[in-house]
Point group: C2
Chain length 112, copies 2
C-alpha cells in the first residue's frame, strides 16, 4: 500500500509552501479512501512518495486516471493567501491503495 | 483553527523528503485530534503552517508543551530507507486546535 502525491514543479513553490500543499493533498485523499484501505496503509507505516508534475492539465489527466481505476484521490487548489494566485492547482494525491494500482496512474513520473 | 508542523532544518532534507515527512506528521496529529476539532478545522479550510526547527531536542520540548496544553500532536521518526539514519526525528505537528493555543507552543519559530 502506498500514497503518491504529485506536486507541480513549474510553480516554483517554496519548500514550506510545497510541504503544506503536499500535506493537504495527502490528508484529503486519505479521507477519500475506504476505512479498510486506510487501516491497511497505516499498519504498513503509511508510505508516501512525492513526485514531480509539470502542469495543471497533467494533474487533471492523472486525476481522471485515478477516477477510472477507482482509486481514492484529491486535487488541491491553493487558497492563494501568499505565494500563488487564488485557485491555483498545486498537488494531486492518489491512494492509499495497492502499489501496483497507484503505479498504473503515476508510474512514469520522476521524484520531486 | 490551525495545524502547525515544525520540520528540522538542520537535517538538510531534500524537498520531496521534507514534504513527505510534513504530510506524515500532519496526518498523525490529525488522528490524535478530537472529532470535533477535526471537523471544525476542515470546515475552515484546514489551515497548515510549516515552521523551521533546529534539533531533535527542540522538537521534543515542543511536544512536551503540546502535551501540557492538552493539544493533539505527533512526532515523526523517519524509517530511514533513503536520506536519513533510521529513527531520525524529522517533524512535529501540533493541532488542529485554536490558533492561540497552537501559538502558545510554537509561536516563536520562523517559517521553514
Amino acid at each position: 500500500m502506498k500514497q503518491v502525491i504529485v506536486a507541480r514543479r513549474d510553480l516554483g513553490m517554496g519548500e514550506g509552501k510545497l510541504a503544506a500543499q503536499v500535506a493537504h493533498a495527502s490528508l484529503s485523499a486519505y479521507q477519500d479512501a475506504s476505512r479498510r484501505a486506510r487501516k491497511k496503509w497505516q499498519g504498513e507505516g503509511q508510505k508516501k512518495v512525492v513526485l514531480g508534475g509539470d502542469s495543471e492539465s497533467q494533474l487533471f489527466e492523472l486525476a481522471d486516471k485515478a477516477e477510472t481505476e477507482g482509486l481514492p484521490y484529491a486535487i488541491i487548489r491553493d487558497a492563494g493567501h501568499t505565494e500563488l494566485e487564488p485557485g491555483t492547482v498545486t498537488t494531486l494525491a492518489v491512494g492509499p491503495a495497492r502499489d501496483d494500482s497507484v503505479d498504473r496512474v503515476t508510474g512514469d513520473l520522476p521524484l520531486y
